[in-house]
């Protein structure tokens, strides 16, 4: 047996073994009520609750609403962030003027604004979108600014030496050079946007998985609650996978995407 197939087997076998072990511990702790006297559902009960949900329309409606809010909110936030980020990145003076404000806006705990957003907009879609915008704008904006302003000076000088016009330089050098940074910022913004869609549901009761989790909690249905929480994790994983794929497709020319030859 050579080393690579040994490693491959290890990579396949070990996680499955730990998975079984973790499930067994979970089942034991929950069934014997070792912790929290009945507050933890057994994995079997959670799986049953999830299976029960998968066959209802309400479940898919919740997922649809959550993903719909996420897509619309992220689209608005990223369009604005890219435009503003490029504009700020192109001008050192604009960077000076906005840096401290952007730093403050980014480190502001945006969830703290939810109660005020609810007073102003109610628990409408508008409120969720405003919260997503307020939270998800900054990482992408900062990355777009940095991507545009930290370009390789040699590339810019070369473009100038070849007498590319301003707009040609922008289209062929500045923009492609900034895209990998923007992709990195987009990832952070996307994760924050998903968190905000779910947390507005949990705190303000706007529709979606967040509200579902809290109503399961309040109904004392811990099996359903765990099932829905696991669902949010799976959605997060799936969205991350979509980003991996898109990045690999769009940025196949960039050094960060190249794999070393084996």
């Amino acid at each position: 047996m050579n080393l690579t197939s040994h490693r491959a087997r290890e990579r396949l076998f070990l996680p499955v073994a730990t998975g079984v072990l973790l499930l067994a511990i979970w089942q034991l702790v929950a069934a014997r009520q070792l912790i929290g006297s009945g507050a933890i559902p057994t994995p079997v009960a959670s799986a049953q609750a999830l299976w029960g949900q998968v066959r209802t329309g309400g479940f898919w409606g919740m997922i649809g609403t959550t993903i719909g809010y996420w897509v619309i909110g992220l689209a608005i936030a990223s369009a604005l962030a890219v435009l503003l980020g490029i504009a700020i990145g192109l001008s050192p003076i604009a960077r000076d003027f906005t840096q401290s404000f952007v730093d403050f806006a980014r480190s502001f705990p945006h969830v703290a604004l939810i109660p005020i957003a609810v007073i102003i907009f109610g628990t409408s879609m508008q409120m969720v979108l405003v919260m997503v915008l307020v939270g998800a704008l900054w990482p992408l904006l900062i990355h777009a600014t940095d991507g545009v302003s930290d370009l390789d000076p040699v590339a810019l000088d070369t473009a100038r030496a070849f007498r590319l016009t301003r707009s040609e330089r922008f289209r062929h050098v500045v923009l492609p050079g900034a895209v990998p940074m923007m992709a990195a910022g987009m990832r952070i913004s996307a994760a924050i946007a998903l968190i905000l869609v779910i947390v507005t549901g949990m705190i303000a009761g706007s529709p979606g998985l967040g509200r579902g989790i809290v109503s399961a909690e309040q109904a004392g249905d811990s099996a359903l609650m765990y099932a829905l929480i696991l669902t949010t994790g799976l959605i997060g994983l799936a969205l991350n996978g979509v980003f991996d794929l898109t990045e690999r497709r769009l940025l196949h020319w960039h050094a960060s995407q190249r794999r070393l030859a084996p």
């Binding site: 070990l14 703290a112 949010t232 994983l237």
Partner: protein
């Protein structure tokens, strides 16, 4: 030097302008949702007499204790997973699964387990904020050049010297970057857990105020949370720069 000063002044211009705009535009109380600054200040006065100190202490203590546990646990787990390949293959997929669950959903889980007290909030933060530190520690530990490992062996570093001088030190730029993400998550978690399930803390004050439509009180609490979030992040950046003075090409990972 004057360039630095100019940047500072320019940086303050926009926030100052916004504050002035708020003061001027809301003066007559013409905007329902944006109360005059005087109302917000008097909110702080009333709140001060009704336990602002206790709310602040409650929030900060949960935050600091939870974050400290998250960092220590995160570095320990990250070090073990980064060092031992078998442990990594066994647990990495599950860490990635749990990490993709938005940490705020740990709040209802911990409420059912631990009730509404401070231990619930501390646990939520300790668990939710640990993951970025775990992942960044794994990356940092694995990123140490193997020549350095060989060098440490050649110089017969003792195990503790090796741990602190080589492994943790070498991984520290990555660990600190993860700790910064964790700090943001910890602050989000303290606010959400207080809003969702608590009878004290600044987050609870904000949500209680908003339920009675006391808009000035809601703003007062929200602004205080914003200041805490900003100060925490700025202080951390200062510490990060100091701690990583030895890293070539600047230490600022995120900006």
């Amino acid at each position: 030097m004057s360039r630095v000063l100019l940047r500072r002044v320019r940086g303050l211009a926009l926030p100052a302008l916004l504050v002035v705009l708020w003061i001027v535009l809301t003066q007559g109380g013409g905007y329902l949702y944006f109360p005059p600054i005087g109302d917000i200040i008097s909110s702080y006065r009333t709140w001060w007499d009704n336990g602002l100190g206790t709310d602040l202490a409650s929030s900060l203590i949960s935050l600091v204790v939870g974050y400290a546990v998250a960092v220590v646990a995160g570095i320990t787990v990250g070090y073990l997973l980064g060092t031992f390949r078998l442990l990594r293959s066994a647990f990495a997929p599950y860490i990635h699964l749990v990490r993709s669950i938005p940490p705020i959903t740990f709040v209802p889980i911990c409420v059912l387990l631990l009730g509404l007290g401070a231990s619930m909030r501390i646990t939520v933060i300790a668990v939710g904020a640990a993951f970025p530190v775990i992942l960044s520690t794994i990356d940092g530990v694995r990123g140490i050049p193997s020549e350095m490992e060989d060098m440490a062996t050649a110089f017969r570093l003792s195990p503790s010297e090796r741990l602190f001088q080589l492994t943790l030190r070498g991984a520290s730029p990555s660990i600190l970057a993860g700790m910064k993400t964790s700090l943001t998550i910890a602050i989000i978690l303290i606010v959400t857990s207080e809003m969702q399930a608590s009878t004290q803390g600044i987050g609870h004050f904000v949500i209680a105020a908003s339920r009675t439509f006391s808009i000035a009180d809601s703003w007062a609490g929200t602004i205080l949370l914003g200041i805490i979030g900003y100060l925490a992040s700025e202080l951390f950046s200062v510490y990060q720069r100091r701690a990583l003075f030895w890293v070539q090409g600047g230490s600022n990972h995120d900006r």
